[in-house]
């Protein structure tokens, strides 16, 4: 397929996933503040930290509170990683490759975009978890339409790689930031509040029920294990990386050329490490360090994809 198309499909999918993750963070946080005692933990600063754009935020908004964080993450037109910016970019990318998508897939994304555009003025005034729940449903609808109407050809696999890398990255970020913020409250360990907060973490990746089925009780180590290494849950980092690896292999198999590819080896290496690391090792070496190295490798895979597939030079 055309390099430009492959790249657009990849980004389209990443951007929808990014928008979805923002909606998830906000939905869960808006729910969380209803349940927890007032002023116990500031839930909004960590959300800004997740983005790694704290300086940008502070310059424009100052101290994080519920109103400005929602505005920033969900509705800020100027912030390129806000939910609406991601959706707009995803839809622009989709428009540029519309002929490679199923009509249903394009139309769903288009409807999604219009839904958010039309609802966001009211939602920005009075953000509710219901609105973000609706957004999350729209993305689930989009994934379903995408899965059911698109041939699983190279384009589909590029979309899957984009989605899985983005998802792995966001899962790692939310774990990292929350871990950092939640762990110091040693006095709370084992209390209802602690339980509530770790549960919220699991809810943010829709993993609460799956976790409960496996472990019943909330324990930090098991939650971390679930986030990093669970083999079957679709938002665990291991699962995301394995799925991206599968798609990359499919892309290479469908390829008719013998060009040297660099993304696969990096991804294989990461997948291997996730499959063979114990949660105790990861915690012993420092959770933050572990997650950081995962994020760096995900970035490297992204760059390697660019060289392998998205920039066909004159001499190739």
């Amino acid at each position: 397929m055309l390099s430009r198309v492959a790249e657009s499909v990849y980004w389209m999918s990443r951007q929808v996933e990014r928008a979805e993750n923002i909606a998830r963070f906000l939905e869960v946080t808006l729910n969380l503040i209803l349940d927890q005692p007032e002023n116990l933990v500031d839930p909004w600063s960590p959300l800004v930290q997740v983005t790694a754009d704290e300086e940008w935020f502070e310059a424009k908004y100052g101290k994080p509170d519920s109103r400005n964080v929602v505005q920033f993450l969900a509705f800020d037109d100027e912030y390129p990683n806000s939910m609406v910016s991601c959706l707009r970019a995803a839809r622009e990318n989709a428009r540029g490759v519309r002929e490679t998508l199923s009509s249903e897939a394009f139309e769903q994304l288009n409807e999604f975009y219009h839904f958010v555009g039309e609802a966001s003025a009211a939602a920005a005034m009075d953000p509710t978890s219901q609105f973000f729940d609706d957004v999350r449903r729209q993305t689930l609808l989009w994934s379903g339409v995408f899965a059911s109407t698109m041939a699983q050809d190279q384009g589909w696999h590029f979309a899957n790689v984009g989605r899985m890398l983005e998802r792995a990255d966001k899962t790692s970020r939310i774990l990292d930031v929350k871990y950092f913020n939640l762990l110091p409250n040693l006095a709370d360990v084992g209390t209802a509040v602690d339980d509530l907060q770790w549960s919220a973490l699991l809810l943010a990746i829709s993993g609460f029920e799956a976790y409960r089925r496996d472990h019943h009780q909330i324990e930090i180590e098991k939650v971390v294990d679930f986030f990093l290494f669970n083999r079957t849950f679709p938002r665990s980092i291991h699962h995301c990386i394995a799925s991206a690896g599968w798609s990359l292999r499919e892309i290479e198999e469908a390829s008719e050329s013998n060009l040297q590819r660099t993304a696969r080896p990096i991804l294989d290496e990461l997948q291997h490490r996730l499959a063979h690391t114990q949660v105790k090792e990861a915690l012993a070496g420092g959770m933050h360090q572990f997650v950081d190295s995962v994020q760096i490798e995900i970035n490297q895979i992204g760059e390697a994809l660019g060289q392998d597939y998205f920039q066909t030079s004159v001499n190739s």
Binding site: R4, A6, F106, I251, S257, S316
Partner: protein, 516 residues
Amino acid sequence: MQNQSQSFQSQSSSSDMDSMQSQSQTGMNPCLPGYETDCFFDEVVDQKGVARPDSVALVDLINRLPPGELKRRQQAIERSLYQMGITFTVYSDSAGTEKIMPFDIVPRIVAPDVWTHIDSGLKQRIRALNRFLSDIYNERKIIADGIIPATVIDSCPAYLDQCKGLRPPHDVWCHITGTDLVRDNEGNVFVLEDNLRCPSGVSYVLQNRSVMKRNFPQAFTASKVRPVSDYPSRLYQMLRRMAPMENADPNVVVLTPGVYNSAYYEHSYLAHQMGVELVEGRDLLVKDDRVYSRTTDGLQQVDVIYRRVDDTFLDPKVFNPDSVLGVPGLMAAYRAGNVALANAPGTGVADDKVVYAYVPEMIRYYLGEEPILSNVPTYLCDREDDRAYVLDHLDELVVKAAGESGGYGILIGPQASPEERQEFAAKIKENPRNYIAQPTLQLSRVPTMVEEHLEGRHVDLRPYILCEGPDDVWVLPGGLTRVALKKGCLVVNSSQGGGSKDTWVVAQAGETVARL
């Protein structure tokens, strides 16, 4: 929700069908009560507001719909066009507001005999235009024989010196043409202009049809409408056969200027429907006079390009050096016969409004036939007598700039202010070659939704023509009916606020009828 309302529509439509049958049993044509033709020729009803024979089913249905239902269906269609993303962005609006091209729910119906006339006239015209294009870039016999003055051609901005000596395969230059037709107050058909460069709008024809079929299934079936849905496969077949060398599976692509082009939706739609790649200039490169696309597997050769990029942007090495939309070296690859282009570069000379005036002469000269379709009588301001007449009669004439399109550069004399007429008179005197004038035709009208009721609005018609060989010309039975939505307005272009309607060409006995 959408499905529910659709099934509701088909239920209500089946009762429409029953009433239609009862109507036809009585043998009386229904009329549109309260609808005024205002002495204009109306495509759907006669002077008394009574349905023309081919429009009986439609008019009957409109009469039988409960109050407000027509409007409701119109809104349902608008909503679905919006959801399909068949929109253009209003750039003046910072919020990036999107609008659909206005669509009107009442179709235009074309009787079989009218269509036969149009079909044969267009085929004849395309044959002559191809002969003209080959001649004018090679021997120039038509000039030598005194039919067209050399100055007309050499002063034409769309005549490209870079195309001299080109001989496209089978001498076909205009593979895809959209010719604008109008009907006057007697119902006579005239050619208003030929669009041989990158005619737009066929995607609206196909989309309008698909939404109409969903919303008027019974009236559609009862009207025995000819299908348009095979256009993409015919287009693809034609493009495939253009492939330069024996190639069992030629690589056909559509070349677009990109997402910001106003016709981008159409480019994308046609590529999608044909199942071929939509490429931009930056996706292509030329090496050793061959064209390649940049793919995830490296370079892949391209055999046929349906280009929707204007001539002078195609190749910065040959035409506009600043163009970033084209492909450097494309013309050399084309001349070397390694890639086919539809349409051939240079065709624009034949849709210059001054050259247009000579098409009837071309038909006589190249084919030895009388033109089947007439031109609108045209005064060329470059001719002294014509110019004097035009300047004296500006209040009666439509004046058009030869090089403009999209409804720009037009003066509609009877509706213009004295200042506007003076302004145009000055322009004509300054650059007579650039202006033509035509009598103001009272364009035919079609009933059109205005708020809650129907009023007559002026229309034109752009049929689409595919030409594979000199004697292999096919005309899509239908076309884009453009409608001026403003009362009394004679300019139908979408850039001037016009909308579109579905066009129902009624089948003769033995002709294929579209299914739902």
